[in-house]
Amino acid sequence: MAQEKKKTKSEKNIGKTKITLKEVKRQKSLLIISFFVTVYGLIFYYWPLTGWIMAFQNFKPAKGILGSKFIGLDKFKFLFEDAVFLRVIRNTFCMGALNLITTTITAIAFAVLLNEIRSVIAKKTVQTISYMPHFLSWIIVTGILHDALSSTGIINDLLMRIGAITAPINFFAHPKYFWPIVAFANCWKETGWNAIIYLAAITSINPDLYEAASIDGAGRLQKIFHITLPSIKPTIMILLMMNIGNVLNAGFEVQYLLGNGLVQKVSQTIDIYVLNWGISQNDFALGTAAGIFKSVVSIALIVICNQIAKHTGEERLF
């Protein structure tokens, strides 16, 4: 509590940092660094945005951006008049949100629980194993998943044995299972990897806090909820906010590899739509238009979250 109060106080102080000559002089080294990275950023990240013009053109690579014919908002109109695109937005958004929530929770839970293991060797071993799935390509992961969920696979086998079902379920034939399967696949693949950041954050917790809690007679669960989690809250909030902007990047490969005709109504994401309509048909303008749409939504989400965080006194991105 005390810490938090102190923070809000010092934050108020920053607001008061005025741009005076003296201050500028004092921050000379910071400003020099800022200058160089900003120039770098303008060149490598902002200059290519001129490519957004392509979305308003009937872009042909042969003619280049300057030579292609302008078609105004045609491509955007095409997107938003297409019922499929609206459905695709829904899919992307729901899968993105579901993935974000589940992977965040599992990664935090894993990091916290791993931290509770006392044997250093066990801790090291478990962690090393935990991030290995990150390196398996989606093709391999989806292959394994297909195996496990097939009618003779281990999941159906297990469910039949405990009597939960009488006949094997064809998991990939029913739209209602698709999103949970994708979320699970993401959790399985990335939990250990995502936990690395939380583990690093946990290392920065002052051990005195645990000491004091132990003296107060707090149990381990209590310490988790009252010390560990609040201490890594800034990290959690920042990552959550950063990833909220990525909700529309719900993915391409998983859905592409796991999807099939029967579930395509729930499986197609914006990226798949762009592949079907943009790339395969050589329509760069459409792909760019969808990209712009994604960027705009992402930035809007980030700004909204940041504003909420500002008002509730949480950690902010900017």
Binding site: P61, A62, H146, S150, Q264
Partner: protein, 566 residues
């Protein structure tokens, strides 16, 4: 494991020590160039027939690179003065790769792309007309006048040559490379080799067999029928209607030759009957319940166990992998090999499943770019590839007495050992050099005896056949797969195949938009039709969704194309 780790660490230490040399990339480059030059000079001494020119070639298809010190490539370089470094498509679509190439403005010497139109628009290709005229013999043998015309672009020039689909002399095709309903020979043998001409008969045989033999010898359950529906590979489920109605593989549409009109097979009565039959079979438990969700890998794995009695597919999509497994596991001796059946909707109709003609796809081919170092030499090599039998044999058969042997009658054959070696990937990379996207022939070679390609050589084909397959062919009086399916021999129209046009449709036109939407709708509804518990109402729903895509736009545009052939 520990040992492996150690070697790995050692290896990385070694790499780190050589790192100093690699940071300076220019050094590496110059040394490799020198190497190339020294090789070239050796060749010069030997042949004294001009220098070796190193050409680059980009192909917008995935493929295997050959080593830079490939032996046959070197022999070709020594004799014909050209060495090609091929680069293949990786991780991009053909459109993206071509797009970046155009954006970069730097081209390889040769290019083979699916997006030729774009390259022409970009001014990336040199017109070949004058070169073609310089080699009249080539011009005459390679294409007919009408075929050459198909390659002529709106600006009046020819920019590329399709290297495939030319048969020399008598066709030696033994396999039915196209689509068919396939059935295992053990089923036919059990049923006493009956005549099977319709889908009803086909499913009847499958049903009877599986009733009598629910499992294989080892206890694995037989699957009577499966269908692959993954992504673009769903075409077999999709286009059977056109074949069942007795039309050839125009792909996206049917061409009615009498009226010269385009017909939509998706809504035809034959297609409806086809799906109705599948639906009936599915509800009778004859179709694999996981057919709609299986991936290609799973499908191949399923077939490889030999438990699938029948399916619809194109030969190249399954046979290479599956037949190898059968052989290895001895399943070919148990009659698991597949033979094609030329089914039609009604008894007594002609079938056109097999394409006898050369299929000239004018949409793609090999071209020479404006950045080419030596267009004269580059084109001459294209001609050599097509016209020089010695070069052709070297590319496809390999080196005499090393990769193949010649019997007393002058027939080429490969010993078991040679066959194994040629199938080895590292040997392919270090020794064999097909230049597989340069002009080539199938059919009989200029010596009048041998096939141009080993896989079409009769002896090579027969060597690989197991007894049950031979028995089956004998029972039907067939020599090979082509005889087995027994399609009508007929010359296709100059427009054939229509899919070479629809594949190039873009969303710039309403027809292209409709075509893409139709594909999407079919992906969803065709499996649903098969699995439906009430076929009629599902069909009506499907038709409603289908007609909402405005298929008439697509048909109209296809008709326009067909009209140019009137």
């Amino acid at each position: 494991m520990k040992k492996k780790l150690l070697t790995l660490l050692l290896a990385s230490a070694m790499l780190a020590s050589t790192l100093a040399g690699c940071g300076d990339g220019a050094g590496a480059e110059s040394s490799s160039v020198q190497e190339g030059e020294s090789q070239g000079s050796v060749a010069e001494e030997q042949q004294s027939s001009g220098e070796v020119t190193d050409f680059t070639m980009f192909i917008t298809m995935p493929g295997s690179e050959i080593n830079s010190d490939n032996e046959i490539a070197q022999m070709i370089a020594d004799k014909w003065g050209v060495k090609i470094k091929e680069t293949w498509l990786t991780g991009q679509t053909a459109a993206e790769a071509t797009g970046t190439l155009i954006a970069s403005g730097e081209y390889p010497d040769y290019i083979d792309s699916d997006e030729m139109g774009q390259l022409v628009d970009a001014g990336a290709l040199i017109p070949l007309d004058d070169y073609i005229d310089q080699y009249p013999e080539f011009k005459e043998t390679w294409f007919t006048e009408a075929e050459w015309e198909k390659f002529r672009q709106p600006d009046g020039h020819i920019y590329w040559i399709n290297p495939f689909g030319n048969t020399m002399g008598e066709s030696t095709a033994t396999t039915h490379n196209d689509e068919a309903f396939w059935i295992q020979v053990r089923v036919l043998e059990w049923a006493g080799y009956p005549e099977i001409n319709t889908m009803d008969e086909y499913f009847k045989v499958l049903e009877d067999y599986v009733k009598a033999n629910p499992t294989m010898e080892d206890g694995t359950e037989n699957i009577p029928y499966t269908i692959l529906c993954e992504d673009w590979r769903y075409f077999c489920l999709e286009n059977a209607g056109e074949f069942l109605a007795g039309y050839p593989n125009d792909g996206s549409v049917i061409v009615n030759k009498e009226t010269m009109t385009i017909e939509d097979y998706n809504v035809s009565e034959d297609t409806r009957k086809y799906f109705e039959k599948l639906n009936e079979a599915y509800n009778n438990g004859l179709i694999d319940t996981e057919f709609a969700t299986q991936t290609y890998d799973e499908y191949i794995a399923k077939l490889s166990t030999g438990r699938v009695l029948g399916m619809i597919d194109q030969w190249w999509d399954f046979a290479y992998t599956v037949n190898d497994v059968f052989k290895q596991q001895g399943l070919d001796l148990k009659g698991c090999n597949y033979v094609p059946l030329g089914l039609t909707t009604e008894e007594g109709m002609e079938n056109r499943w097999h394409t006898y003609d050369d299929t000239v796809n004018q949409a793609s081919g090999v071209a020479i770019t404006v950045d080419c170092k030596d267009p004269d030499k580059a084109f001459k090599f294209l001609v050599d590839c097509a016209m020089d039998q010695e070069l052709h044999d070297l590319r496809f058969w390999g080196v005499k007495d090393v990769d193949y042997s010649v019997d007393e009658n002058g027939l080429y054959y490969r010993t078991e050992e040679q066959r194994m070696e040629c199938a080895d990937t590292s040997y392919q990379a270090s020794h064999l050099c097909q230049y597989s996207y340069m002009p080539q022939w199938s059919g009989t070679s200029r010596d009048g005896k041998n096939a141009n390609k080993p896989e079409e050589q009769t002896s090579e084909f027969q060597n690989g056949m197991a007894e049950p397959l031979v028995n089956c062919f004998n029972a039907y009086g067939a020599d090979n797969y082509v005889d087995m399916i027994g399609s009508v021999v007929e010359t296709n129209g100059p427009w054939f195949p229509m899919y070479s046009y629809s594949n190039n449709f873009t969303t710039d036109t309403p027809g292209g938009v409709a075509w893409a939407k139709m594909g999407e709708i079919k992906h969803e509804w065709l499996p649903k039709l098969v699995m439906s518990s009430n076929f009629d109402s599902t069909w009506d729903e499907y038709m409603a969704a289908y007609n909402a895509c405005k298929p008439e736009d697509f048909i109209a545009e296809m008709q326009e194309i067909l009209d140019t052939f009137k």
